[in-house]
């Protein structure tokens, strides 16, 4: 069969298609986003961006209850949002099939926490598969759908950043024929989770658990490799590859199904080797369950609890006397944090907002990057949609002390994800906080995905476009202003006036993302610093715009300046914000 170089996410999408599945819903989130983007490219599929993960799972449940084989995809923290329906669909089961993909992010490369979603499998009593590379990622999808159908259960497939975003050679399979099994079938006793029915289903869940445990014992992706009988490693997912890389001769029990665990197989493996290490990132998830079986293993005593592993982490933990590699370069290097792009509409907004000295509750999106120096635009950020509720709560608790000093900022996609109900609450409970919706017309952080405010669907069809102004008004907010955040004067005035007004206010800062192709932003000529006029005050550097840098030592007769600002023309997109900041008219 054909071989292709594929990322884990591309391979998962291929696996979904090969499994004959044609229905999927998701909300974008790193490292899961490309799964849906790739799946949507296949022929005859239905794929949608839902406004959030809870809706995506509910959409997939609905499809599955109609007999479809359905998929829902999200990042690890998205499962928190979707947890409510997930825990109960575990009771009801499904008519068709339902697979939920959780893409975890050990090391928090692009996330606010590194929760270990393997715990969700145990917590919700839902079987979970964990592939170790793109080939397995593709192949496990079809196994997950088979298990879902065979046991009338939702199934989790867990990926991690290194599986989703690494690439390797994948052997493709012939796609199965898609068989349309959809049908309307009433079965209220199974699907109406009122207590009397839920109690019955609760017992069914435990029966299913027993059957799945038996199934796990012979599941072919739980693989034992007996090599050196002195040392055995029990592992799953990507850490298997790291361990094999540095200890190719040890014996291995590699678990493809991590919930429920195959107890007999684990005991069998334990009887074949003398010393057992459990190699797993994050929580001692396997270790605790194996120890509870009464099998002595070494795990988090020597391996880290935090961050993703690599081959070196495993080697150094097992051979504790080894010296890790060191760099010959001993000087400290300046950090290179990700930054708002040149021409980013958030830059002006946060520059103006900082002047107000308000406490700013932030949210999840590119604008979270404004937290860093010198913009220092945010003072809190917890999760998707939290800014509005937190701003309201702080404002209420502080009463007079908080008047005119509490702001929440939230992007358009994040607002539609989980900000609407909290804004409704602000209107209902008469908040004094100011909310700024940063409307850049797209889901920028994850790479320009569509949402209900963009006017297009994932499949590229034109769609009903929500009018934020009308929506906010309908929620009961009376003070609404729409501004251009690149106009600093207008932005500052709007912020000051709305902070001074009583009752809840919303400012919609409207300007498309500078990288958003569909917005068709006409390129403006790059700006220049006039070396004669620049007084070296560094005000423009306060914008933290990538093209603007500082040239030390360029002095001027009759001026105290120690250097001047400089604009890199190849990077500047001519947004003109720095010209508005310059007090000496030196930038044009």
């Amino acid at each position: 069969m054909k071989k292709e170089l594929m990322s884990g996410n591309e391979a998962i999408a291929r696996g979904v298609y090969e499994a004959g599945v044609r229905f999927a819903a998701a909300y974008p989130g790193t490292p899961s986003t490309e799964i849906m983007e790739e799946f949507a490219k296949y022929d005859d599929v239905y794929a949608e961006w839902a406004p959030n993960e809870k809706v995506a799972v509910e959409v997939a449940i609905g499809a599955a209850l109609g007999g479809a084989r359905a998929l829902a995809v999200m990042k690890h923290v998205g499962v928190n949002v979707a947890a409510d329906p997930i825990f109960t669909v575990s009771y009801t089961g499904i008519e068709g099939a339902l697979v939920i993909i959780s893409a975890d992010d050990p090391s928090m490369h692009s996330s606010q926490n590194e929760q270990d979603n393997r715990n969700y499998a145990k917590f919700a009593k839902i079987p979970m598969l964990e592939p170790a590379d793109p080939q397995e990622a593709k192949d496990y999808v079809s196994l997950a759908f088979q298990i879902s159908e065979q046991f009338d259960t939702p199934v989790f497939l867990r990926s991690t950043t290194r599986v989703s975003h690494s690439k390797s050679v994948v052997t493709l399979s012939e796609p199965q024929m898609h068989e349309d099994k959809t049908t309307l079938k009433h079965n209220a006793g199974k699907y109406v989770m009122v207590p009397i029915n839920a109690r019955t289903r609760r017992v069914e869940v435990e029966k299913r658990q027993m059957a799945l445990k038996k199934f796990a014992e012979t599941f072919p992706e739980n693989k034992m490799e007996i090599n050196d009988p002195e040392v055995g490693i029990i592992t799953a997912g990507m850490p298997y590859n790291y361990a094999k890389d540095v200890f190719p001769n040890y014996s291995y029990l590699k678990l493809g199904m991590i919930y429920p665990l195959p107890e007999k197989l684990i005991r069998h493996f334990a009887s074949k080797v003398k010393k057992i290490y459990v190699v797993e990132e994050l929580d001692p998830y396997l270790e605790e369950q194996i120890k509870a079986m009464g099998i002595p293993v070494t795990g988090k005593d020597i391996f880290p609890y935090t961050n993703e592993f690599d081959p070196g982490v495993i080697k150094n933990a097992i051979n504790s006397d080894l010296q890790g590699a060191v760099s010959p370069y001993k000087e400290s290097l300046a950090q290179r944090p990700p930054n708002l792009c040149p021409g980013c509409p958030h830059r002006g907004l946060f520059y103006a907002l900082k002047k107000s000295k308000a406490y700013v509750h932030g949210d999840i999106g590119c604008y979270t990057l404004s937290y860093m120096k010198p913009l220092e635009g945010l003072h809190s950020c917890i999760c998707m949609g939290a800014s509005i509720g937190m701003a309201h709560g702080m404002s209420k608790a502080l009463k007079e002390k908080g008047k005119g000093k509490v702001v929440g900022v939230i992007g358009d996609s994040t607002f539609l994800h989980s900000g609407i109900t909290s804004l409704l609450n602000m209107a209902y409970n008469n908040s004094d906080a100011l909310i700024i919706i940063l409307d850049n017309s797209t889901t920028a952080m994850t790479g320009m995905q569509e949402h209900p405010g963009t006017g297009y669907t994932l499949m590229g069809k034109e769609a009903k476009k929500v009018n934020l102004n009308v929506l906010v008004s309908a929620l009961g907010i009376q003070n609404i202003r729409v501004i251009d955040p690149n106009n600093l004067k207008e932005t500052k005035n709007a912020i000051n006036e709305e902070l001074a007004s009583s009752g809840p206010s919303v400012i919609i800062a409207q300007k498309p993302c500078a990288l958003f192709k569909r917005a068709n932003i006409k390129p403006q000529p790059p700006l220049k610093v006039d070396a004669d006029k620049c007084e070296g005050c560094k005000s423009c550097l306060g914008l933290n715009c990538p093209p603007i840098s500082w040239k030390e030592g360029v002095t001027k007769v009759g001026s105290k300046r120690k250097g001047i600002s400089f604009i890199d023309e190849t990077l500047c997109n001519g947004c003109g914000l720095c010209a508005q900041v310059c007090k000496f008219g030196a930038i044009s």
């Binding site: 490369h109 690439k167 690599d310 590699a325 300046a334 944090p337 708002l340 560094k538 500082w550």
Partner: protein, 193 residues
Amino acid sequence: MIDSKVKSILFAGVGGQGILRASDIICMAMMEAGFDVKKSEVHGMAQRGGCVTSHVRYGTKVYSPLAESGSIETLVSFEKMEALRYLKFLTKDASIILNTEEIYPPAVNMGEATYPYDAICFLKNHYPNVIAFNAAELAQKAGNIKAANVVLLGALSNLMNVEKSVWESVIKKSFPKKLVKLNLDAFQMGIAA
């Protein structure tokens, strides 16, 4: 004849420099040359000026897409100071291909940190094979500054035992038709650099 030992290349630079595309191209080339190949990087915030690295590993059978520190034989750095950030991953006699372009991080722009202008000197004192040149200038000569990544691949190809026809075939597959000639020229400039 395929060498069975797994070899590792580290690509490093700044978001937006075409690092991921370059590492994709080399993976396709190694695949076409008959190797097993894996690569790993982290994207997500890469477009926004942060550090980007990509590990590429090839051999008869590759397990880990990430290389152990102290084990990488080749570093391709797309920016001068970024090369210094990852030296602990390299073997003591690693080869380094260095784009001498300087991209200042915010702390340097603000005057709060200094830029290691002497990086090339330091690298040459510590590593036996440092090939340093301005890939952006060469790419500009080939027709577009954005082809600097392919210029660097050209220089890298000198260190690898892969037929030139394989590289050409992979470059042809990697770019839209109108950009193929430009990138083949850029690749050739890297070979000659």
